[in-house]
Every structure is written in C-alpha cells, then in structure tokens.
Amino acid sequence: MNGSLTFLSVAPEIALAAAVVLLLLVEVTFKPRAWAWAVVAGAGLAAGTALSAWQWVAHRGADTGTFWNGMIAVDGFAALAGLLVFPLAGLGLMSAWRLAASQGRRGAEFIALVLLAAAGAHLMAAAADFIMLFIGLEVFSLSLYVLAGFTRERVDADEASLKYFLLGAFASAVFLYGVALVFAATGSTTFYGDGGIADYLAGTVIFRPGVLLAGLALLLVGLAFKVSAAPFHVWAPDVYQGAPGGVTGFLAAAAKVAGFAALARVLTAVLGARADDWVPAVAVLAAASVVVGTLLAIVQDDVKRLLAYSSVAHAGFILTALVAGRGGVGDMWFYLATYAVQVLGAFTVAAAVSGDRAGRSPLAHWAGLGRRAPWLAAAMTLMLLAMAGIPLTAGFAGKVAVFRAAIDAGYLWLVIVAVLATVAGLFFYLRVIVAMYLASPEEGASLPASPAVGWGARFVLAVAAAATLVFGIAPWPLLEVLRDALPL
C-alpha cells in the first residue's frame, strides 16, 4: 500500500469533513456573520474539487486502484464524480444562500449538511466495497432527510422530510439485504482485487444463482429508489414539493448524480459478469420510469411536482444508457452532468418565483412571468427546452448519446418507447413556457411579491444556461473526455 496515496485517496472527504468541523466550531465559538460560513464552505468545496481534479489528471483512463484494504477506489470514475458533485454542491449552496441566511444561527448547520451530503455522494461513487458504499449512502441520505425538512415552518415540509426518511430508510434496508445476499453468494463484499466480487464472478460459473440474483434484484431496488426510477419513485413528488424551495434543486441534482454513480459502478464493474441477468431488468426499469414519469407529469398543475415527475422520466433516460453496460457509462455521465445542472437551474427559478421557503409552486404563480421577470423566464425556458431535448441544448445531445448507446446494445424497443415519451414530454414542458409568456395573471390572484433573485441564484442560472448551451452546441469534446471516466 502506497503511503502517501492512501491518504490522497480519501483527501476530498477529509477536506470536506475538515470544513464541516471548522464551520461548526467557528459557529459555536465566534458566532460569525454569514460571509464567514461562505468562506469556510467555499474553501472546503474548492479543496475537494481541486483534489478530485488532481485524481482525474493522475488516474483517468487507468486501471482502478484500491486503497484502505480495498475500501476505496481511485480512478477516473470516482474523480469525475468528485468534479461533478463538489461544484454542484457549491452551486446548490449559492442557490440556497438566501434560505440558509434566513435561518438565523441554524444556517451553519444547513451548510454543514450540504457539505456532508456532497462528501457522502463522492463516497458512493468512490466506494470499492459494499460496506463502504452503504456508509456513503447513509451519509448522503441522512443529510438530505434533514435538509428536506429544514425550515420546519410548514406541515408539508415536515411531511416531506418524514416521508423521505421512512421510505429512504426502508430502501436502505432493502439495499443492505441485497448486500447480504450478494455476500452469501460470492463470499465477499469487496469489489476489486483477488477474491473480490468481480474477480469471483468472472472466474466462477454459478450453476444455481438464486441467492445472487435475489441480491442483485434487491440492490437494484435500493439504488433505484435513490435515483427515483419508477416504480420506486413515489417519494419524489411529495419531497420536491414539500421541501423548502431553495434546497430542492440540490436535493434533486445530487441524488441523481450519487445514485447513478453507485448504480453504474455496481452494475458494470462489479456485476459486469452477470450483465445478461441485470440488463433486461434495467431496461424494464428505464421504460417504466420514462412512461410513468411522462404520463404523470402531463397531469400536474404544480411546477415542482411536474419537475419531480419529469425527473422520474429523466432517471429512465439515464438508465437507458446503462443497458449498454460499460460502453454506456460515458453517455450516462454526459446526460447526468447536464441534467443535474438543468434541474438545479429549474428549481432555482422555482424558488425565486414561489419563495425560498415555500413548497408549492402552482402554475398560477408562473402566469405572465415573461413580463414580470424576463430574465428568469428566459432561464426557465432554456432549462425546460433542454429537459425536453430540443436541439442545440445539452438535453438533446444527451438524449442522442443515451439512445445511441441503447441501440448499439440492441434495445431498439426501449429507444422507441423513450422517443415517444420525449415527444409526449414536450407537452408539459411547453405548458409551463406558455403559462410564462402567453397567460396573464388572474385578476385578484395573490401572486408572490415580485420574484427576488439573489446574486447566488443569478450566478447559478448563468452557469446553468452557459453549460446547457455550450454542451448543446458542441457536445463532442465533453463526450470524448468522459470516455476516460469508466469504472474499470
């Protein structure tokens, strides 16, 4: 075991944990103003990003190296997850800054929880052992449960938090059961190396794989819950609608990135030898998510519920890339990265329109937004068009990438279903755009005061819009780079 690399392998987590502890200690001791929180959190996230960037430069495209007795993996996959999750947490904090600052002294805990969630998300992507993956999952999920109910002002926020917690704990238990069964079938919880699961499955023909398949199915259920793939999506609309508006974007974006990173590594790298067993299951999950998400999004009257069901559909599109196995992971990353930015941007606008602490965001709030706040409306339009998959946006490039991966893998029926859903999806995305530009506010309707946008939210929207356009017009460089981010 290489001594210096051992600590560098978990350096992003160390940086974030140090930032969290420093933040909480400084908060208790000096009771500083809010800008001090921003400095500490920004330093922690910047350090995490820089260390991930170093890992990326040093290890991309190379074989996975494991450290701490096979607990943590250092490779392009884990590094890319860090490069995505830490800036995303930074953007999420900027988007939620007004919310955090309005919480009095509790704001420090809010920021600490966002940082811990980011650390947990990166752990999920970098874990090289199921025990490690489970701890990452818990660190990530528990932070999100608290964040979802943070404001404690409305009953539905408490309800969202409790629902998320109970269902999430249940999904974690299912995941853990799957780990136990896979351990029973393969005799190991470690992914790589001699005697690891990948090694065992590659070298052994299992004649009676019942326990292994049951374990695989339970793992799939546990992780599908985290990424809100149908039929394990029922928590998403209530949580996205109930949680305080400012933090919803981070909840949605981070859960997708962390869940899919874990899913991709577990399926393609660890259980790659059993691809014939899980690929059909993933294809069915993808089709179900795309159809259920799209159909239910059409009937929503609340923009946040609409975005929640659309996120179910997007989970389906991302799963579509995974039916191609390892070859689809690069396309999965592209879709995941661009979608995470889009959904963060969309919820940032929703928070500005309906309020940082508000839950509901009925379509009536959006009527005439194009005249009241043209820039906000333009940003939202861009995000929605990208999610719908209009050409020249990153959403289109992502959809083309994942569809091509699925066709190459021989899943034409899945692509046909997904394309039909994309066309149907245009309806509800355009419905919001029509409300913003063509509808006028109802007489006497109590609209929230004119949308207030903080500098943080402005920055988030600028970044999201720039990323969506740049990677929509020229996706090839990024797609090429992401080929190095495969779990090997």
Partner: protein, 183 residues
C-alpha cells in the same frame, strides 16, 4: 446437527417475534416481540462464533434500546389502540401479490434453485481482541467514516430541534420568543 436444531428453533422464534412486532395491537406486545427477535438473533451470532457481538446485542439492543422503547411507549400511553384502517384497501393484497411476483421472478431467473457454490466468508474469532483488530486494521476506513454519520446526527438534531418560530423570519436570535418551540 445441534447447530441445525438451534437454527430452526431460534429461526422460528425470530420470525414469530418479527411478525408479532408488526401485527400486535398492543405496543407493549410489539416491543416484547422485537425483544424475542433480538435474543434469537443473538443466538445466531453465538453459533457463528461471534460471542462479543452476541453479548453486545443482548446488552445494548435487548437491554438499553428496548428499555428506551418501553419508556416511550409508556409516555405515549399503552391504552391507545392503533388505527389500522387502510386508506387504500387494495394496498395489502397488492403488496402480497407483488411480493409473490418478486419471489417467482427471482426463482425463474435462478432456474428454481437457490443455493450457490460460494465459499463461506472467513469467520474471525469472536473475541473482543479479534474484533478490535479487524475493526482497526481491515475496516478502519469505514469505521472512521461513521464519524460523519455522528456529525450529521448531532447537526441534524440541533438544526431540527432548535427551531423557533420567528427566528426564521428575522434571522436574528433576539426576536425569538422564549419557550415558543415548534411542536
């Protein structure tokens, strides 16, 4: 042979306890059922050579945690019957049907066979010494990272528990009325 007999007896006891926990109307029975399950699982730990974990299970879970549960039950009130009306009457049959479907699917996928040929995990000696050596050598990173979970628990409890109405509005502590904690 002895191990098999023990497994069957305590396996049934664990299942019975688990079912009681969920089905009993009286919460005290639920708690006692849970205790039965915890004890039965402790027996499994012993038969797998994990004596220390078994002892911890009995002392911490069956002892301390269950006492806490009983305290909470007593504080809430034992006589309060649980409302079991389902808002969605199809829910339970549907859940059972899906469970059967899941089992059948896995059976079909596994060609009606459960047992696999994996070697059993290598069992460590169940003593404190062996456990400590495993924990601080092979599993040191997961062990240390559970510290993050403790930080989340502390920060989350403080954040959710210290909420006072009014503070969120002004962003200043001065405005918060004393004793106005949220329910």
């Amino acid at each position: 042979m002895v191990e098999l007999v023990l497994f069957i007896i305590f396996g049934l006891a664990a299942l019975f306890g688990a079912v009681t926990t969920v089905w009993a109307r009286n919460p005290v029975y639920s708690a006692l059922g849970l205790m039965l399950t915890l004890f039965s699982v402790a027996v499994f730990y012993v038969s797998n050579g994990a004596q220390f974990v078994a002892a911890v299970q009995v002392i911490v879970y069956a002892g301390a945690v269950m006492t806490l549960f009983l305290f909470v039950i007593m504080l809430v009130g034992v006589d309060r019957a649980e409302d079991r009306r389902e808002n969605l009457p199809v829910q339970r049959p549907l859940a059972l049907g899906l469970l059967v479907l899941f089992g059948a699917g896995v059976l079909v996928a596994g060609r009606f066979a459960w047992v696999t040929g994996a070697e059993g995990g290598r069992g460590a000696e169940g003593t404190v010494e062996a456990l400590g050596s495993e924990l601080f050598r092979r599993w040191v990173l997961p062990f240390e990272l559970t510290a993050l979970l403790l930080i989340i628990a502390a920060a989350g409890t403080v954040a959710l528990g210290l909420f006072r109405r009014g503070e969120a509005e002004g962003g200043d502590e001065g405005e918060a009325g004393e004793g106005e904690e949220a329910p």
